[in-house]
Symmetry: C2
Subunit: 375 residues, 2 copies
C-alpha cells in the first residue's frame, strides 16, 4: 500500500504526505540508514525521539546475516529490529555491484561468493523480491545494476551506460512481475538509471513511468562523479518524474545536496554520511561542520550547535565530546550519531515548514548563509 | 556533606538512606563504574531510567584525560559528563598500583610515567585529595595502597600485608588532613586494608574508626584471591565497621557476591563486571547467565530475561542481540550494557524491598534457586 498526497509545490520543490503500511511519512524526508538491521550506534528510541519517520535496511546484508529464516520467524524486519514505523529496503543490487571483481553479472542476475562464508550465491530480480517480501519493508526497491561513473580511470561511455540502463529496465519488469506474483502488500519503486547521460535518463524514466509503479528513485548518482555532474543529473531527472508519485534520490548526500535535491523536486533521501561522519568526529551544524577531534574544542563549554535541540546538544559540551573521542569511548560516536541524524532529520523538518509557510526561497538563502558562516 | 539513616537491619544486612550533596541514595546500592567520565556504552539518560542512583569516576584516568583544567572549568565532573545525581571517585591508588613495574611506591606517594604521554607524575594523598576536590565528587576515597594477593606466584606474607596496611593508614591521615585543608564540602571515606589477614583487617579498621570518617570501604578484595578467601574477608570485616556509617565493598563482584555482601552488612558496591561482560556478550539474568554469542540463540524470539523490565528486554529478542554481536554492531554492547546494569541496579532494588518487607531470608533462598535454574 502506498498513498501520496501532494500538498504544495514551490518551483520544483514539493511538500507531501506518504502513507505506507506502517504509517505516514511527511515529505521531504531524510531516511537514516540501518544496514544490518540497526542504525549504527543509535537506540531505536533515540531515532523515534528525533523524529525519524522511516529508516532503511539493506537487503544484501540482511540476507547474509542473520538470514531469511531468522527474520521470517519474526514476520519481517520491523519486529526483529524493534522499529514499528515505515521502512524501506534496497534491492541488494548496489551491494553486489560493490563486490567488484568478486561478482559476475549476466542477464539472469549476479553470481557472487558470500563475503561472510564464501557460499556461491545468485541474486536475481526474483530473489531480491522474495527477500524483500520476507523483510516486509514498506517500500521495496527494484533490482537494478548501478552504472559506475568510472572503472579504474575509464569513464563509462554512453554505449556502456545504455547497455546497463537497459538491463536495469528488464530487471525492473522482472521485479514488478515477481512482486505481483508474491502478492507483496507493500510498494515497489522503480529506479531511473542512465549514468551521466540525460537522454538515457529520459529513456529510462519514460519506460519506468509506463510501468505505472507507485514511486520512483534516481539511482547511480553519488557514485564517485564530480559534484557538477551530480548536480546536472539532479537538475535533469527528478522533476520529470510523475508529479503525483514520490521521488527518492538514492544515497545523497551533504546537507547542501539535500536542499538542492528538494529544490529539484526530490521527496526522499538516504545517506550514511551522518552516522559514518559521526564515528569520525565530524559533526554537522547549522553554521558549518565541526571536527570534534580538533584541539580547540578541548575545553569548550559550548554545545556542538547552540541552535540544536538534540539530546547531545542539550546535555553535553564540545569538550566532553572531544574527551570521549580522545579516549576512544563508545559514548562519543553514540552522542555524535544522535546529533548528526537529528541534524539531517531536523533539516528536512525545517524544509517542510518553510514549504508549508511559502518561504522556501528565503529559508534556502539563510540556510546557505548560515552554513557558510563557519562554526 | 553526608547523612546516613539506618532504617532496618536483618542479621548483618542493612537497609538505609544516604544523603549526599547531589541527592539521596537508597542502600544497599550498586554503583555503575564510569572510568573516563562515561559508563561505557550507556547514555546517562539510560542510567537514570534504570534507576542508577550514584555512579563512579576514576580519579587517575580523569587526571590523565581530559585533565583537571578542563574539568575544573566545568566546576567538576557532574556538569562535564551530564550526570546530576551523586558520584563517587576512587583515589587513583588502585590504578597507579595496577601500573606494576611502571611505578615506584615510597612513603611520600607513587611516582610513575603517564601511560598517555610519558610525563613523570607523582601521586600522593595530598594530590589525590586535590584532584578529587576539583572533580567535586560526593564521596571522596582516601589514597591507599592496594595490598596484592600474590605477585608472580608469591603470596603476600603477613609482614608484607602489615607494612602495606600501615602505609595506607598513614596515607589515610594525610588524606584526611588535606581534605580538611581544602575545605572540600563532600564526604571522605577510609579504606580498610590488611590483605587476607583478619588481625590486620581489625587493626586497620580500628585505626580508621578512630579517625571518625563519615564512611568506610573494604579494599583489597577481588584482587585475584580465591573465592573462599574473599568470602572469609567479607564475613570478617564489613559488619565490624560502625553501624551508623555507610560501608562500601570495593570492586565486588558477581550477583551472588553482592547478595552475600549485603548479608555481611555491606551497603555499597561497584564493579565493572556488568558493562565489561556486556561487551563480551555475557548477560546476567534471574535464571543464570546467558552467552548471547551461543548459536542456540540465533533464532530465539525470547527476550534475554522474561522477568526483566529493562529497555532491551522490553523491545528486543535474543536473536537480535545474537545478530548484532555477530555483525560487530555497536548496538549489541549498548543493549547488553543497559540490560546488565539494569540487572545489577534492580537486584539491589529487590534486596531493599525484601529488607523493607522483612523477607530477606526467603528472598535470598529464591534468588539462589532462580540463579541455579539456568536460562
Amino acid at each position: 500500500m502506498l498513498k501520496f498526497e501532494l500538498h504544495k509545490t514551490h518551483g520544483h520543490a514539493r511538500r507531501g504526505t506518504l502513507t505506507l503500511n506502517h504509517g505516514t511519512v511527511e515529505t521531504p524526508v531524510f531516511m537514516p540508514v540501518g544496514t544490518y538491521g540497526t542504525v549504527k550506534g543509535v537506540l531505536p528510541r533515540s531515532l523515534e525521539e528525533m523524529g525519524a519517520q522511516i529508516i532503511l535496511g539493506n537487503t544484501f546484508h540482511l540476507w547474509m546475516r542473520p538470514g531469511l529464516d531468522v527474520i521470517g520467524k519474526f514476520g519481517g524486519l520491523h519486529r526483529f529490529e524493534g522499529w514499528s514505523k515505515p521502512m524501506l529496503t534496497d534491492s541488494g543490487g548496489f551491494q553486489v555491484w560493490s563486490l567488484g571483481e568478486m561478482r559476475k553479472i549476466s542477464e539472469e542476475g549476479v553470481k557472487f561468493a558470500s563475503p561472510v562464508n564464501g557460499d556461491k550465491l545468485f541474486l536475481t530480480p526474483e530473489v531480491s523480491m522474495q527477500i524483500q517480501t520476507v523483510l516486509n519493508s514498506d517500500i521495496v526497491m527494484q533490482f537494478d545494476e548501478c552504472t559506475p561513473y568510472e572503472v579504474k580511470g575509464h569513464l563509462t561511455t554512453e554505449a556502456e551506460a545504455r547497455k546497463s540502463m537497459e538491463l536495469s529496465l528488464r530487471w525492473a519488469k522482472r521485479s514488478q512481475a515477481e512482486f505481483a506474483r508474491l502478492e507483496n502488500p507493500n510498494a515497489l519503486f522503480g529506479i531511473v538509471q542512465g549514468g551521466m547521460f540525460e537522454n538515457l535518463r529520459q529513456e529510462s524514466l519514460d519506460a519506468l513511468v509506463a510501468m505505472d509503479l507507485p514511486g520512483y528513485a534516481v539511482g547511480g548518482v553519488s557514485v564517485g562523479e564530480p559534484k557538477d555532474e551530480m548536480l546536472r543529473i539532479m537538475a535533469h531527472t527528478p522533476h520529470r518524474l510523475p508529479a503525483h508519485k514520490p521521488r527518492y534520490l538514492m544515497g545523497v548526500g551533504t546537507p547542501e545536496d539535500l536542499v538542492e535535491g528538494v529544490s529539484q523536486g526530490v521527496d526522499m533521501f538516504d545517506c550514511v554520511m551522518p552516522t559514518r561522519n559521526a564515528r569520525n568526529g565530524h559533526l554537522f551544524t547549522r553554521f558549518g561542520d565541526l571536527k570534534v577531534r580538533n584541539a580547540r574544542h578541548r575545553d569548550s563549554e559550548a554545545p556542538v550547535d547552540e541552535t540544536c535541540t538534540c539530546y547531545t546538544c542539550k546535555n553535553f559540551s564540545r569538550a566532553y565530546l572531544h574527551h570521549l573521542d580522545r579516549c576512544g569511548e563508545m559514548l562519543g560516536p553514540m552522542l555524535a550519531s544522535i546529533h548528526n541524524l537529528h541534524y539531517y532529520v531536523n533539516l528536512m523538518r525545517e524544509v517542510r515548514q518553510a514549504l508549508d509557510e511559502d518561504r522556501f526561497d528565503s529559508w534556502r538563502v539563510q540556510f546557505h548563509a548560515d552554513r557558510a558562516r563557519g562554526v
